[in-house]
């Protein structure tokens, strides 16, 4: 039987506000446990929440970025359940009237197929704290630093049909939120976490199969692996005559498998009801238009512009627009050198190679876009050849000079194009290599093409790489073929 996979995602994005969604405590990552939780985050008796307007603005910006409806009124509700890292015994969230309504996100698949994924809604909520079960001698530690951190939960329709599509979707969300600057998108620090709903059904069947929800997957790779494992598990189960049960599962990256956490029967009744401590959020047209005016160029628009007005390939446009720092870097290089293709090649080639090797983010690149743009300019105007350019790049990377020009100067890497000077070097090489010259001259003209490489190498070496290779090639040919 042919199976079809159906995937829907709930992506929790941590918003980049300075303070928490309902208190003034800091949201900075990595502080000592329980040093960033104030009376409100601790849920002490008598305290009250006050909504952080920054979180509202960020949610609205996201909504506008996915062309979603922004309802005039949205409402905070309480989701009631007991857990030690949930200080109030309820999570303040949104249910019936979320801040962002229906929208859509475009994803690009490997073969450049584009697909629209519908967003059901996105809502604001507060994060819980963290329970730590190790290092406490059979007890649990609670860290409430994260409690009250603003989250935007983005809920998709079940529109994805493969793990690849799911990953492309998360990448698209990641790109949007980082472009907007509403999240740092740091998955390792938990700034983006996904709940993945997976079901399978026989190809052609309309009704959805029973789904399992895989909770809290926190990397692109794990999302892909978790889905692949889960799809296989469900298909095997059904083919063996079993039934998928609706349940919450956990992905264990060490075992590369999903495991059951709780079934529907064990699920909580969250007893949602409107939070009486918070007023409804009312947004008027002027506010929404103001937020719209702050939106930057978004990833899809950028990719399209890179392709159509800069003439980049779809692939290059996709890579260079994938994150805002990447795109900004590329555009800054382009602004200096003026050649989009060269800028694209250098950013994706030499620069990305170095960055990846040393695991450095492009926003912390030791080579600035101005430096790289200056280097490319010197290649474009033939001041240096490609080989020297790599040396210059390495020198810039190692901070051995302030600019390409300075390095070219101090190291004498300026390309030699003076025919006389090149001829002199060629004559010397010919004089020093009588055996090779004789072999060359005896060889068939078809074989000479390969043999000339030796002489080119010798001349380039003699010039310490500065001779113009095309010139060297032409002149050598003339001289060797003369006799």
């Amino acid at each position: 039987m042919q199976w079809e996979t159906v995937i829907g995602l709930e992506v929790h994005v941590q918003l980049a506000t300075q303070s928490k969604i309902f208190s003034g405590a800091s949201t900075a990552f990595g502080a000592e446990p329980n040093t960033q939780a104030c009376a409100i985050d601790l849920g002490l008796p008598g305290v009250l929440p006050v909504l952080n307007e920054g979180a509202v603005a960020m949610a609205v910006q996201f909504g506008l970025a996915i062309n979603a409806e922004i309802p005039e009124t949205s409402l905070f509700e309480r989701k009631n359940y007991f857990y030690p890292d949930l200080p109030k015994g309820y999570q303040t969230s949104q249910m019936a009237q979320p801040i962002v309504g229906k929208g859509e996100v475009e994803i690009v698949l490997d073969d450049d197929v584009r697909k629209r994924i519908r967003i059901h809604h996105a809502h604001l909520e507060e994060d819980a704290g963290k329970s730590l079960h190790e290092d406490f001698h059979g007890m649990s530690g609670i860290d409430l630093n994260r409690a009250g951190t603003p989250l935007l939960e983005i809920v998709s329709e079940p529109d994805m049909r493969s793990a690849k599509e799911a990953v492309a979707y998360i990448r698209a969300i990641h790109a949007i939120v980082t472009y907007l600057g509403i999240s740092d998108g740091n998955m390792a620090e938990g700034s983006m976490r996904c709940d993945v709903n997976v079901s399978v059904r026989p190809k052609g069947q309309e009704t959805l199969g029973t789904r399992a929800e895989i909770k809290n997957v926190n990397s692109f790779r794990f999302v892909e692996r978790a889905i692949e494992f889960e799809v296989e598990r469900q298909i095997e189960l059904i083919e063996d005559g079993g039934k998928v049960v609706q349940e919450t599962r956990l992905y264990d990256p060490d075992q590369d498998e999903t495991r059951s956490m709780r079934t529907k029967e064990e699920a909580n009744d969250y007893r949602y009801f409107p939070c009486p401590d918070l007023l409804p959020v009312m947004l008027d047209e002027a506010y929404i238009e103001h937020q719209r005016s702050t939106l930057p160029e978004l990833p899809t628009e950028k990719r399209n512009r890179f392709e159509t007005s800069l003439g980049l390939s779809t692939y290059d446009a996709g890579v260079l627009s994938s994150t805002r720092p990447m795109a900004e870097y590329f555009e800054a290089v382009l602004a200096v050198c003026g050649d989009a293709k060269q800028a694209a090649n250098w950013v994706q080639g030499e620069l990305s190679g170095h960055l990846n090797r040393e695991n450095i983010d492009i926003s912390n690149s030791p080579v600035t876009p101005e430096q790289l743009g200056g280097l490319i300019s010197r290649v474009l105007d033939d001041t240096i050849n490609g080989k020297a350019a790599k040396q210059v790049f390495a020198a810039l990377w190692n901070n051995e000079g302030a600019s390409a020009d300075e390095i070219i100067d101090t190291r004498g890497l300026k390309q030699v194009t003076d025919t006389g000077a090149i001829e002199a070097m060629i004559d010397q090489v010919i004089a020093d290599s009588p055996v090779q010259v004789a072999q060359y001259r005896e060889a068939d003209p078809e074989k000479r093409g390969k043999m000339i490489g030796y002489f080119v190498g010798q001349v380039m070496k003699a010039s310490r790489g500065t001779a113009n290779p095309q010139q060297v090639n032409g002149l050598l040919k003339q001289k060797l073929d003369e006799a």
Partner: protein, 485 residues
């Protein structure tokens, strides 16, 4: 001195008849002498009170002339006070000290007032008799066999017994007005949103409102002026100018239109209470007011709607008492579930548990629409009843409670206790202000007249109450001291 109003005490301080320290000491001594039996205080903060009194005396010597400076009061133990236990009348919080002051506590301190301590109350403000307190019931100073009302019973009893000239209370369904009526004092529940709830331990957030309890409407006006106002820490507090509540106290009542809701004079109303209220209305007529009957047709739905909404909010508000971070925690829990179950079983009393169960049930999947949503619809109808009535009249009047104070231990059945609030609950559902003023006695036990106004009409309510108190002396009466030792 022990039965003087704040206004009179302020004059005495200003005239140098006595100092803040003398006043405070004498009240603290009375508390020590008399409160063993009345039990109106949970915590008395003698040292803090005396040093605050000394500071006030020094400030006065240097020219501090603020109206409330150096005057003592008591604070219901539902308001968080930094470094001083805030128990909310519950074993759950017997060991709890808040690291912050409630906004109203801050404001009263800023006005120069001196806290004598924290007053007894029904556990988490759930009750109408003060019998659900972990710290034992409060006795009514007028008749020690009677309840003082609740939930602000400690505050009301302390004022009646001459232990404090004024107090802070809170009112979720009548918890200021009914004990004020039972103890023969004046108590005002302001409009919802008029007074900040920050630092006031939540029972039912959409209904809770703090307010003043004192010996006169004039004193309530002073106190309300000090505690009212928008608070950036409470989103439900209203950004609206706080008027000078004293400014209109003396306005004549000529032509005032008083409505008597016929539903407040029906079955179940005690005959002595009714005759005292009718007599009070005649006083108003003599002051030039016009009286007519009005109808609040959804009155009979107020108690049922309230007992869905209030427990629903309470069930959620009280989830934080889980033994994890503060408050009572059971001994040696074997696992998380054991920790939750035993902590809450031990820490909460029966009435609190009952309301958590009711609230949890009414919010449950499958019951939400039938209970919570329906109750909210009813709430809107009740609010509309009042809006409609105020199209015709300026204020509404009726009894604050259907009977005078009942005997301690008399109401075993929770529903009969809930019906105590039949005339007060709708006011919280509608969010309007209400005041109870002393209007007579049934035997030894006081009777309270309730006056209701439109949203933010506190000035008018205080004026109407004050004029009554200019014409009568019910509010000047006080019980005789009964030493217990």
């Amino acid at each position: 001195m022990h039965h003087m109003t704040l206004t009179e005490l302020a004059k005495g301080l200003k005239a140098g008849d006595f100092s803040s320290r003398e006043l405070t000491t004498s009240l603290l001594d009375r508390i020590e002498r008399l409160d063993g039996d009345i039990n109106s205080f949970i915590t008395v903060t003698r040292d803090q009170a005396l040093s605050a009194a000394d500071a006030a005396d020094q400030a006065r010597a240097k020219g501090d002339s603020r109206a409330l400076a150096g005057l003592p009061l008591a604070i219901k133990d539902i308001f968080c006070t930094q470094g001083i236990r805030t128990s909310c009348g519950s074993k759950m919080l017997d060991n709890f000290q808040a690291p912050y002051n409630a906004t109203v506590v801050e404001k009263l301190e800023a006005a120069g007032m001196i806290s004598l301590g924290k007053t007894n109350m029904d556990e988490f403000a759930m009750g109408s008799s003060n019998e659900s307190s972990f710290y034992g019931p409060v006795k009514n100073p007028w008749d020690r066999t009677a309840v003082p009302g609740g939930s602000s019973g400690g505050s009301a009893a302390a004022i009646a017994a001459g232990l404090a000239p004024a107090a802070l209370g809170t009112d979720t369904g009548g918890s200021i007005r009914q004990p004020a009526a039972f103890c023969g004092i004046t108590g005002l529940k302001p409009t919802y949103g008029r007074v900040s709830r920050y630092g006031m331990i939540a029972f039912a957030s959409s209904l809770d409102q703090g307010g003043p309890m004192a010996r006169s409407a004039e004193d309530c006006a002073h106190l309300l002026g000090a505690i009212a106002g928008h608070d950036l820490r409470d989103s439900t507090s209203v950004a609206r100018v706080v008027p000078d509540y004293l400014a209109e106290l003396d306005a004549p009542l000529d032509g005032l239109k008083i409505g008597l809701p016929k539903e407040y004079f029906g079955n179940g109303l005690d005959a002595e209470v009714e005759s005292a209220i009718r007599e009070a209305i005649r006083v108003y007529e003599s002051l030039g007011a016009k009286v007519c009957e009005v109808s609040l047709p959804h009155t009979h739905l107020a108690v049922p709607a309230y007992y869905v909404i209030a427990p629903a909010e309470a069930s959620s508000n009280l989830s934080r008492y889980d033994g994890v971070r503060f408050g009572h925690r059971c001994e040696n829990p074997v696992d998380l579930e054991d920790l939750y179950k035993r902590t809450r079983a031990e820490g909460f009393g029966d009435e609190v548990k009952r309301r958590i169960l009711i609230g949890t049930h009414t919010l449950s999947e499958g019951f939400f629409d039938a209970y919570y949503r329906k109750a909210q619809q009813v709430r809107r109808l009740i609010r509309q009843d009042f809006v409609d009535a105020f199209e015709e009249v300026d204020v509404l009047m009726g009894p604050a409670a259907p009977t005078p104070a009942f005997d301690l231990g008399a109401k075993k059945d929770p529903v009969s206790m809930y019906l105590q609030d039949i005339y007060t609950i709708a006011i919280n559902l509608a969010g309007i202000p209400g005041i109870s003023v002393p209007a007579g006695f049934a035997g030894k036990r006081p009777i309270g007249l309730q006056i209701l106004g439109q949203h933010f009409a506190e000035s008018q309510l205080l004026n109407v109450a004050h004029q009554f108190q200019q014409a009568t002396d019910w509010h000047r009466r006080h019980p005789t001291d009964q030493e217990t030792t």
